[in-house]
Subunit: 167 residues, 2 copies
């Protein structure tokens, strides 16, 4: 069932770039009940989108989670670690490890919070701002490629639909 559908969509929308990772047609088996599971399809797309992102930003060695943290710190200078963790849905321990690495690379600095001695206010360093500027340009290229491959309507529909679900 699923195979037929996949083949159907393949005929009408051929891969527009050679970078699109597709399994050999002949190797595709029946997906069985996976064909009705959102989690299966969302994971496939997520892995593929992240691979493209990582490849696109490889020259500046910025991975998706690092990019998210840099973007949100830049958009909210002085925000606390717990605010960043809550906004991005990252566990606090994982965010702490991530920030340690960014701090070692001199991209982020932790300042004493004027309002709460127990928490730190986060800010990008000058190098952090410079790296983020390059990262934004590369991430925009990645996003343009996604829109080309998925088709601009489907790309927009997916972003709008996922943003509204805001899990």
């Amino acid at each position: 069932m699923s195979n037929r559908r996949l083949k159907g969509s393949r005929r009408t929308t051929p891969p527009p770039t050679p970078r699109r990772p597709r399994a050999d047609k002949a190797a595709r088996l029946d997906l069985g009940v996976l064909d009705g599971h959102l989690g299966y399809f969302i994971r496939r797309l997520q892995v593929w989108v992240f691979q493209d992102f990582i490849r696109t930003l490889a020259t500046i060695d910025i991975r998706p989670a690092q990019y998210s943290v840099l973007v949100v710190i830049a958009a909210n200078p002085g925000a606390s670690q717990s605010q960043i963790a809550a906004t991005l849905g990252i566990e606090r321990a994982r965010l702490a490890r991530l920030l340690n690495k960014l701090e070692k690379r001199d991209l982020v600095e932790r300042l004493e919070s004027p309002s709460d001695a127990r928490s730190h206010a986060l800010r990008l360093t000058r190098d952090g701002n410079r790296t983020l500027k390059r990262a934004r340009t590369l991430a925009a290229k990645h996003e343009t490629r996604l829109a080309e491959i998925l088709g601009p309507e489907r790309h927009k529909l997916l972003i709008d639909s996922l943003r509204d679900s805001s899990c």
Copy 2:
């Protein structure tokens, strides 16, 4: 910008179940350019869907990738490891580790392939079939909950849209 949108969508579509993981409104910061990145939203939803799946199938200790493999083997008895890997987009080394665990739990067996001495034909054991039957029932409950939380139209739209992108 993003905060306003998130708040807007939150007002019109309140969380219908208490299990829906939402950060404290007050803690949400501006997402900056993340608000235009498909990868960000798809990752958030994927993590949340997987957490719900793992929780729902915890009693039988079947995780998403294990479920996918069991489903596809059952739908294609005798398929080879490389066919399963290609269909699910799993690296062969990872699939081999996954199959070792399922074999140790006596859920999957590798038989000599009648057509190719170098490859194995995969099949579920009797226990494998029994476990998959329970897994399917639990996974269907998980899917029903997703449809309730996302709304049935958005749930269907996301599955159809992601299936057609078939990355």
